[in-house]
Symmetry: C2
Subunit: 217 residues, 2 copies
């Protein structure tokens, strides 16, 4: 059965790899699984055909035969559970790798998403400028804790896992702001992740779509 | 091996069951697993002994023999994977239940957490009053989509699962604000979750701690 994922027809980041399809592409590349991509326009995302697969009208989705999933965390876990290379075999190490997936998505990403709110969603509001340093400080607090835990290790818990894939994907969102560079060990961690051949292939694939001209409509 | 979780010595909500240990208690009750609780003060959470188990200095944590986990999502998944009652046996249904866990934590909870930011963290800021309706509108948008997907079903995908446990736990955070009552089918969904005997036991257990007098120091 072939795997079909969805991605933005045009990513809001113009191909920087920050849209969540990149994480899923990366996991599929790490697992050595071929996949097809169905591009979805911003307007088509809110239409019934797409909402039937993704109730919140976003990308990515994952379809394989009868199975339809959404949420990058769930999709990557599904891939990691079925193919070697993304989760340790030892039960306790596996549970800890899964913990880092959830930590990336529920503890580290939410304050980072506030950057999008303050900069874009509420960018024209009178409080945007004064709120920005508060938002940045909350991100720094999390990065400080994460950096303390990582120490001088290469990855968060032993070998590279889906937990690192997810954490690096979340931290990559901080590259445009430069905040990540305040934490050299985390910047190096992200650089190690980006250097992986599987990430390189995922990044190139999403860039090819976002750099290509839109088909005439 | 006995299971030990951590909880607030005094929850910021005074026993409304909104702290994340309630979710873990609930999962353990659904799975019929006995557990012990170690209470942690707000200051002890930021000390090395607790940070060794939870790098972000929060509760809950989960310890069982050699295994130490944090993040309510990861803990509940760990419980659900090892005991019957929280994940379907069919592979595709299981993957969809896990999807709802991630959707609750990464898509529905982040806008809800903004309520805490606007009301408490930034409650004394001049923009708090004007920002509140923007935050509420973003929550409504998610609830509208969730309500459309739930339709008139009892649970999100077939039988009650860890996905429902997590989604209901996230939606419970909206009870104090009353926003959930704008969506009668979601309010009924949360009420069904609250009526489960396992939830009742979990709620009573956290309330007993928060209603008891603090030990003399």
């Amino acid at each position: 059965m072939s795997i079909v994922i969805t991605a933005f027809e045009r990513s809001p980041d113009g191909g920087m790899g920050l849209a969540r399809d990149t994480r899923v592409r990366w996991a599929l590349e790490e697992a050595g699984q071929p996949y097809e991509v169905r591009l979805v326009s911003r307007s088509a995302m809110k239409e019934p055909a797409h909402l039937a697969v993704h109730p919140f009208g976003q990308i990515p989705t994952y379809e394989e035969g009868d199975l339809a999933l959404f949420e990058s965390g769930a999709i990557i876990f599904h891939i990691a559970e079925r193919h070697a290379g993304l989760l340790p075999q030892d039960g306790n190490a596996r549970a800890r790798a899964i913990t880092w997936m959830f930590a990336a998505l529920n503890t580290v990403e939410p304050p980072i998403l506030e950057l999008v709110t303050v900069r874009f969603v509420e960018g024209d509001k009178p409080w945007a400028k004064e709120r920005m340093p508060l938002v940045v400080e909350r991100i720094r607090s999390r990065l400080h804790q994460l950096s303390a835990r990582l120490g001088d290790a290469e990855w968060l818990d032993g070998a590279f896992s889906a937990g690192d894939l997810m954490m690096a994907s979340v931290l990559l969102r901080l590259k445009p702001s430069g905040i990540i560079n305040e934490f050299p060990s985390l910047a190096a961690y992200v650089a190690r992740a980006e250097a992986r051949p599987a990430y390189q292939r995922a990044f190139a694939a999403q860039l090819a779509i976002n750099a290509a001209p839109l088909p005439a409509s």
